[in-house]
Symmetry: D2
Subunit: 148 residues, 4 copies
């Protein structure tokens, strides 16, 4: 298998690696392992980018082969490729990727708000089950949780 | 402390004991212990009712002292009192208690329907959290459950 | 058709009339009409009970025939029957019905608490739809409510 | 005020115009008007793009001034500016924008799934209110909707 970040602003490579890795390994690997493997790869990429003198506002494209062995992701670092597009040479690309990053931050805000509501919802549904159980305990002969 | 069932149709004494016990021990005893203690007491009452030749359609009123020791309910069986109102003598009372029993069955039906909806709700909220997590994994850099 | 309250404490006859009327006309008459018709009948019963010198703690049993014409409940007042069981004569019945009334008040408390949670839930679900719509508006090309 | 699409693949300019317009007019204009105004502007842009011989895979950047008068968006078409970046000249930019478009489609899929769950949730909460109302009608003297 192969992870490919596509074009991404250097400042955001680590998040992009993780997102893409979640997408390509969905259903094959545990989320915790995806987080771990992304962290490991990102450390390696970080060093390479420093060696290459890449700036945050440059654009990069990273590909790396990997395999999954017993639920664990193993990177083939020999196959790691990093293309660099300097802002000074590809200014429009750099600006476009900056816009993409900005849009993603806005999306995150919306999703965070939505998440809060979903957590509210879960709490409300737990409280309902609790209230209903009390109602059953004191006013019915229905089967209770304590009898399960 | 003292459990008192109030008037109840003999057919429904066991449920009534449990309901009242839940109400008077709320917050002091675990539900499982309420279920256990009610079961124990009900067995004893059952034998007494048989000895007394009580019919299902008679009405009874049961009181019994108890104490709570380290979360356990201990019945004081010496203080157990059972009043019996024979249907042949208290016909109106017997019929009234029969009606009450019937109403309770209808209430139970409604509550069962409601419970199904609350269980639905909980499942939907779990699915939402799941979907939202996937959305966060693949499209954001927000903190994931796998990072907690 | 026929409404029959069963045994009920005189203090609670009006509520009992309404509850039973809801049950027997379910699906045939609008809730508003049930409320209206119950109110009308209860006014009539109220006068009769006064004439009969019924006390709050006495027990009554009321039956009355009715018909439904074009969604309207018409009471046949000529067929109205009120049986009265004086507390002084039927003391156990009176005390039993008092207990029933007390249990119903406790049930109401539980149901009110549950209702608050359901109203919470509805509000949360409306807020979610709102947030999701904003997310769709600003981050997708999915069909919007404004396009319906 | 000023609408600016940022860099966008020509194939997706219409959606981008609408999304950005929603974001910049949030709280000032009704959603229906945003949809209408976006549609009007997009028609004009469509003609311009045809005149300019723009291909779907080219990248464009559109800015246009507008004002809001009594809840209506008025475009200042004289100020409409369209920058075109041909794929043949800015290949990396064109490919990057193609990737962005692809990611957005995936995001839409996730959001559609989430929306279905939220609609489920709303229905469940309506059903609960209905069931609770029936329970109140037949088993309590609590205030009903029909009395509001």
């Amino acid at each position: 298998m192969r992870l490919s970040t596509g074009f991404v602003r250097a400042s955001g490579y680590a998040h992009k690696v993780r997102r893409v890795l979640f997408a390509v390994t969905r259903g094959k690997v545990e989320p915790k392992e995806v987080v771990r493997a992304a962290g490991e790869l990102n450390q390696r990429i970080f060093e390479k980018l420093r060696e290459l003198g890449v700036e945050k506002s440059d654009v990069v494209r990273i590909t790396v082969p990997f395999s999954i062995k017993e639920g664990t992701i193993e990177w083939d670092y020999d196959g790691l490729e990093i293309e660099v597009y300097r802002k000074s040479e590809e200014e429009n690309l750099a600006r476009a990727m900056e816009e993409v990053e900005e849009r993603e931050r806005e999306l995150e805000e919306r999703i965070k708000e939505l998440e809060e509501l979903v957590l509210n919802l879960r709490e409300t549904s737990e409280q309902m089950l609790e209230k209903l159980e009390e109602l059953k305990q004191e006013h019915t002969s229905l089967r209770l949780r304590a009898e399960e």
